[in-house]
Subunit: 279 residues, 2 copies
């Protein structure tokens, strides 16, 4: 993995934000930031290196995956629009398909077909399943050959909003309550559109948790999700005892949350000392 | 004033964050940031320029002041301790006293005597009052001559925490309620140590306001102040309708506020995407 990270960070203008490797999932996540051109070049370098180092025929792991590079999302952070990220994703997809001969599927905002917006739909059947069906019209890739790369498989590339991993721990060990709350708040069952939620048991703390991904914090802000969880929990006489933000959160999401609870009409970056210094 | 700002920003490594001039107060505020050495050099350049341009014998304005440069606070923002800011303040004070021949008083964290910690105490009598009493032992300056500079008067230099100007608008036009709440929450009358508060009438909105300065947001965080105001207002059946943050607020204060209301055990800068990119 160090080789792949080195290939990415060797590109001028790219800054590594985070790198994590999980043995049981047999999966690594590399997060980096930079100018659009630098980030695209670095992503290409990483995909090329992973193609040379990972043989999917020998690869096992718990996490769903399609190829040596499973998924590459471009995420707009500052000074760049979602439309520009979509263009970057499609440009990279074309290069990966043509130059590296890896079949590429475009997903989320970069998707060319509605049935490919959702990453889980694109990953259906995983490496072995896609290998068997890639010749069918339904699964023809957006770029590259209509056949799996012999060692690197296939890759999903796209553009999406920053995702916020937000968990709410409940004052109960009854996971059934967490599952009911998750069902109430998630978009797929009638709740908030940009919320994905599951009820799970946190064995180490012996509490039930509503584990969520907020996939659009602008349209569905953190506070609205938390307060809905709180109201739903109250019908079971259960309180929120603690929350967790996993990984990185965009500054604007934090500012909006503070503004809501402080009853500020608006809290902008231009009011934060460090943002004024840095930007 | 443009001349003074130019003198400050001509120093390499200094970034101007804010500049405001108020005609009725006849007072300007310049906020800048940089390395300790650059900020000290820029402050010296600004004080020197103000000495040459402003004649206190001809100066009138509503705001309390002692000299052409009234007060210079060093505020630690990142990568610098309060102790280092105190050293900067004292180093600058010595130079201003010796090289510019302006009497200098050290205040707040840089104060050398307890009766000079509070800026209002140092400013007592203002320009004319100090001119009459500067020869007394009680008012001997920390640096420079024990006589007012003939045009520039005297200057107060010190170090302090970033100050948060936080106002809470109430659902009432009864300024008496705002005054009672201010008295309950401020340190000087038994409330929270690092809160200064007044009850005022906001004529344009026709609501009463609790207008506050939070002078140590680490030891007295925003949420604790707001919730105390809310509880005190509730005894009069009055709600908080809106709040205001005036000027710039430190990122850590915003993160701590969001963490409190979200029930996160901790929200660190390392969890904020932009802070990771910038720092």
């Amino acid at each position: 993995m160090a080789d792949i990270v080195a290939a990415i960070t060797s590109v001028q203008g790219v800054k590594l934000l985070d790198f994590s490797s999980d043995a049981s999932h047999n999966r690594s996540v590399v997060t980096f930031v930079g100018t659009p051109e630098a980030v695209e070049a670095a992503a290409f370098a990483g995909i090329a290196r992973a193609r040379d180092l990972i043989d999917m025929e020998q690869h096992h792991g718990e996490h769903p995956r399609l190829g040596a590079t499973d998924v590459v999302p471009f995420v707009p952070i500052a000074g760049v629009t979602m439309a520009e990220c979509v263009e970057l994703a499609r440009g990279l997809g074309r290069r990966v398909g043509e130059e590296l001969e890896i079949p590429v599927y475009l997903y989320e905002e970069a998707a060319t077909r509605p049935d490919r917006r959702n990453l889980a739909d694109v990953r259906r059947g995983e490496y072995d399943g896609l290998k068997a069906t890639i010749g069918t019209p339904e699964r023809v890739p957006d770029f590259g050959p209509a056949a799996m790369h012999p060692t690197a498989g296939a890759t999903v590339i796209g553009a999406r909003m920053p995702l916020i991993a937000f968990n709410v721990n409940l004052g109960t060990a009854d996971v059934g309550i967490a599952k009911k709350i998750a069902k109430a708040v998630r978009g797929s069952s009638g709740g908030l559109v940009y919320v994905k939620a599951l009820g799970v048991m946190l064995e180490e703390k012996h509490v039930a948790q509503v584990s969520m991904n907020l996939v659009n914090y602008v349209k569905t802000p953190i506070h609205r999700v938390l307060e809905m969880v709180r109201r739903e929990a109250a019908r079971y006489g259960v309180a929120v005892v603690e929350t967790e933000l996993i990984g990185l959160t965009p500054l604007d999401a934090v500012l909006d949350t503070a503004a809501y609870y402080m009853q500020l009409p608006k809290l902008g970056r231009d009011q934060v000392i460090e943002a004024r210094i840095w930007e």
